[in-house]
Amino acid sequence: MFLIITMILLIIAMFVTIIRMIIGPTVWDRLLALNLISAKTILLLAIYGVYRNNILLLDISISYGIIGFIGIMLLSMFIQRGGRLK
């Protein structure tokens, strides 16, 4: 029961972060919101994995964490170079 409430709270937190992503004046606010959403997705997957007692979901959340990390690194490098992929 507690896990369901945590999942619902995480989903609400994601929607609020999406609002911050839309409002965010600078590009880096959007990157920040993206980072938050990916961290919350990992949490959501882990909680759902424990809730359903399904071990595969935890592997998915680890790989999602790795891909999220690399994605944000590349995005910020791309932005830092002023939108050139050189």
């Binding site: 409430i5 880096w28 961290a39 882990a46 994995g49 071990i55 910020s76």
Partner: protein, 97 residues
């Protein structure tokens, strides 16, 4: 029983994380709240799940996720902060060189 208390604690962290995003006007302070509070919320929830699931390979993976996020989340925020600073967002009160 213990994991319920930890989960309640993590709810408070998540709510503070949300308030922290909207309350601060300066971009860097928002980065600070997101990196700190979000990592702590992740650690609390994952410890609660480890306590709930006891000693089996499920909790081993949870431990792995926790260690991974503890390392990468601050690094992520550092990368964003660095690219913001180098591209010209001045921290308030900093004397322009």
């Amino acid at each position: 029983m213990i994991y319920k208390g930890l989960l309640i604690l993590s709810w408070i962290y998540i709510i503070f994380g949300l308030i922290g995003i909207f309350r601060f006007n300066n971009m860097y302070v928002r980065l600070l709240t997101s990196s700190k509070i979000d990592t702590v919320a992740t650690i609390t929830i994952l410890i609660a799940l480890i306590v709930k699931s006891g000693i089996n390979d499920l909790s081993l993976r949870l431990l792995l996720i926790m260690i991974f996020i503890m390392i990468t989340n601050p690094v992520n925020n550092h990368i964003i902060c660095r690219s913001a600073y180098l591209n010209g967002i001045r921290i308030k009160g900093e004397i322009d060189k």
